[in-house]
Symmetry: C2
C-alpha cells in the first residue's frame, strides 16, 4: 500500500467517524484531506528514497513513516496559512477559505465567518499534527528504533516552530537581515522538517549507520536551503503562471529573503528599502524594485548562494556510507532544487 492509499484510507475512516458529529465536522475532514493532496509529496519520497537506498525492505513500515511526515507538512501548511491570513493555496480555497464560504451559506455575518474559518483551520492543523505523531507512535518496531524516529519528529517540530516564529519576528526588523540570518531561518523553518528529518527517518528505519544518517542530515539541510533560496528568487523573478503567486506579494509582505539581505549590503539599498513591506506596492513599483535588485547584484548573489548550497549538498554525499544508487538519486534531486525555470 503506497502513501497515497494509506492517506486515503485514513481520511475515509476519519470522515466516517466524523459523521457522528455533524456535517461541519465531516466538511472539516474533507478540507484536511484536500490540504494533504495536490502537493508534490516531497517528504514521503525522501523517506522512501533513503529507506530503499540504504537497504530497507519492509515498505509498509516506511510508508507509515512517510505518511507521518506528509501529515506533519500538512499541519504546518494549514497553520502557516492561518498566520498569514491566506484563504487560498495553489489557487484553490484552503481550509479557511472553504469554511468562510460555508459559514456564509449558513447565515453567518462576516466576523462570525472569520471565526469559523480560523477555528476550522486551527483544528484541522491540530488533527493532522496529532496523526503525524500517532502514526510513528503506533509503528510496530522495537522501542529503541521507535524512540529514534520519535526524536526525529520531535526535532522537526521543535526546530520548525523556531523557524516559523523567527520568520514572523524578522519581518518587523527595520534593518535587512544578514544573509547568514536568512539562511539560518530557512534551515529552521523548512530544511529540517522537509529534507533533513525525512531522509534521516528513512535511514534510521533501514538500520543505516551513524555516518550515513549524519551525511543525509547534512545533505538535507543544505539542499533544503537551496530549494528555499530558489523559491524566494522565483517568488520575485519567476513567472506567476508557473509559481502561482504574484511577483509583488513577497515584496509587499516585506519577506526577509537572501535577495533583500544582499541588497541591504549594497549602495542601492536606500533606493530599494522604501518599497519593501509596503502593502500598497503597485505592479509598476514592483517591476522597478526587481530591476534594482537585479542591477545591484542581489539576484546573481542569491542564485550563486542557492547553487553553492546545492553543490555542497552533493559533495557531502561523496562518502562510502551512501550507496551509489542513492547518491545518484539525490544528486538528481539537488539539480532540480536550483534548475527550475523562472
Amino acid at each position: 500500500m503506497g502513501v497515497g492509499t494509506e492517506l486515503e484510507r485514513f481520511f475515509a475512516a476519519s470522515r466516517l467517524r466524523a459523521s457522528d458529529y455533524g456535517e461541519h465536522y465531516v466538511a472539516l475532514w474533507d478540507c484536511l484531506e484536500q490540504a494533504s493532496t495536490g502537493g508534490k509529496r516531497v517528504r514521503p519520497a525522501l523517506v522512501l528514497a533513503a529507506f530503499t537506498g540504504l537497504g530497507g525492505t519492509d515498505l509498509s513500515l516506511a510508508t507509515t513513516v512517510a505518511v507521518s511526515f506528509e501529515l506533519l507538512h500538512t499541519a504546518f501548511v494549514i497553520h502557516d496559512d492561518v498566520i498569514d491570513r491566506d484563504l487560498a493555496r495553489r489557487g484553490v480555497a484552503n481550509v479557511a477559505g472553504r469554511f468562510i464560504e460555508r459559514a456564509i451559506a449558513h447565515g453567518a455575518v462576516s466576523t462570525q465567518a472569520d471565526t469559523w474559518a480560523a477555528t476550522a483551520a486551527i483544528l484541522a492543523g491540530d488533527l493532522a499534527l496529532s496523526e503525524a505523531h500517532r502514526a510513528l507512535a503506533m509503528l510496530p518496531v522495537e522501542r529503541e528504533l521507535r524512540g529514534r524516529l520519535l526524536d526525529l519528529l520531535d526535532r522537526a517540530v521543535f526546530v520548525s516552530a523556531a523557524g516559523e516564529l523567527a520568520d514572523v519576528t524578522n519581518t518587523t526588523s527595520k534593518e535587512p537581515l544578514s544573509v547568514e540570518q536568512v539562511v539560518f531561518t530557512l534551515e529552521q523553518k523548512t530544511a529540517v522538517y522537509s529534507f533533513e528529518a525525512p531522509l534521516q527517518a528513512g535511514a534510521v528505519l533501514a538500520g543505516a549507520g551513524v555516518e550515513a544518517i549524519n551525511v543525509l542530515g547534512q545533505f538535507g539541510r543544505l539542499i533544503g536551503v537551496a530549494f528555499q533560496l530558489t523559491d524566494d528568487i522565483l517568488g520575485v523573478f519567476g513567472d506567476p503562471a508557473k509559481t502561482g503567486k504574484s511577483v509583488v506579494s513577497d515584496l509587499r509582505e516585506g519577506k526577509q529573503t537572501a535577495l533583500i539581505a544582499h541588497a541591504g549590503t549594497t549602495a542601492a539599498w536606500p533606493d530599494i528599502a522604501p518599497f519593501i513591506g509596503r502593502a500598497d506596492l503597485s505592479e509598476e513599483e514592483g517591476a522597478e524594485v526587481k530591476e534594482r535588485l537585479r542591477d545591484c547584484g542581489a539576484l546573481d548573489a542569491a542564485e550563486e548562494l542557492a547553487r553553492s548550497h546545492a553543490e555542497r549538498a552533493v559533495a557531502a554525499l561523496d562518502t562510502r556510507s551512501i550507496p551509489e544508487a542513492l547518491r545518484s538519486h539525490l544528486t538528481t534531486l539537488a539539480g532540480t532544487a536550483v534548475n527550475r525555470t523562472r
Copy 2:
C-alpha cells in the same frame, strides 16, 4: 517525581534547547510554561485517582500519562484563546497577550503585533500538543497497553475538535439550540478530554477490567457535563470576583448554554432573544436579561440539569468494579461539580 516536577523539568529542558534559536523562542516557551501552570490540574488528578484507586503502583508511569493530559489541555486552552481572540486568561496576559507586548517593545506596528501574537499562540499550542503525544508514545510499557492509551488520547483529540467546531458553528444559529444539543456539545468539547479520557487512561494503565473502564467513562462524561453546565450558570449568575469573568460576556458572545436553550422553549424567549449575542449589551441590560432568565425558569432548569447529571454520575459508580475508596473520592468530586458558590 510529581506532575509539577515533571512539567518543570520538561520546560527547563525545552527553554535551554530553545536558547539556540533566539530570545523570542525562549519567550515562547516561557509563555507555554505559564499557560500550563495556574490551572487546577484537574486532569492529572483524575489520571492518578483512577490509577491508584484501581490498584496501580508504578507512579512514574501514571505521572507521565497525567502530564500528557495536562499538556493536551494546555494546547486546547491556547488554541481556544486564538479562536476567541482572547489576550488574557484568569486575568493574566496569555501567550498572545504577552507576544503583543513583546512585538510592540520590538517596534512592531499593530497589524504586525497581531501576527506575532497569533503565530506565538498557534505554535505554543502545537508544541504542547506534540509533547502530549510524545509523552505517551515514549511510555516504557508493552505495545498493546501503549496502543490503548494512544487510542484514548486520539479519541480525546478527535471528539474535542468536533466539540470546539460545534461550539463555534452553533453561535451562528438563529434559533436557540435544544438542551440536548447543548449537552452533546459540552460532552464533546470538554467532558471527553477532561474527565472521561484521563479517568480511563489511569484505569487502563492500572490494568483495570473492561467494566471499571466503561463505568469511569460514563462517570466522566456525566460529571464533565455537570461541571460545564455549572460553569455556564456561574458565567451569567456567578460573582465576577470569583469566576474572573464579566457576567455579560457569555450573553454578548451569544454563547449557546443550557440557560439559553431552556429559555428558548418558554414564552419569555421573545423578550430575551433580542439581547443575546449583542456585542454592545450594557451591564444594565445584562442584569435585565438575568432577571428574565431567572423568571422564566431557565436558571432552575439548568441547575436541575447539572444536579441530575452529577447524580447519574454517582449512580454509575455503584458497581463492584469500582473499589470503595475510589467511589468515595469520585463522589466527593461530583459534589464539587455542582456545589460551587455563586
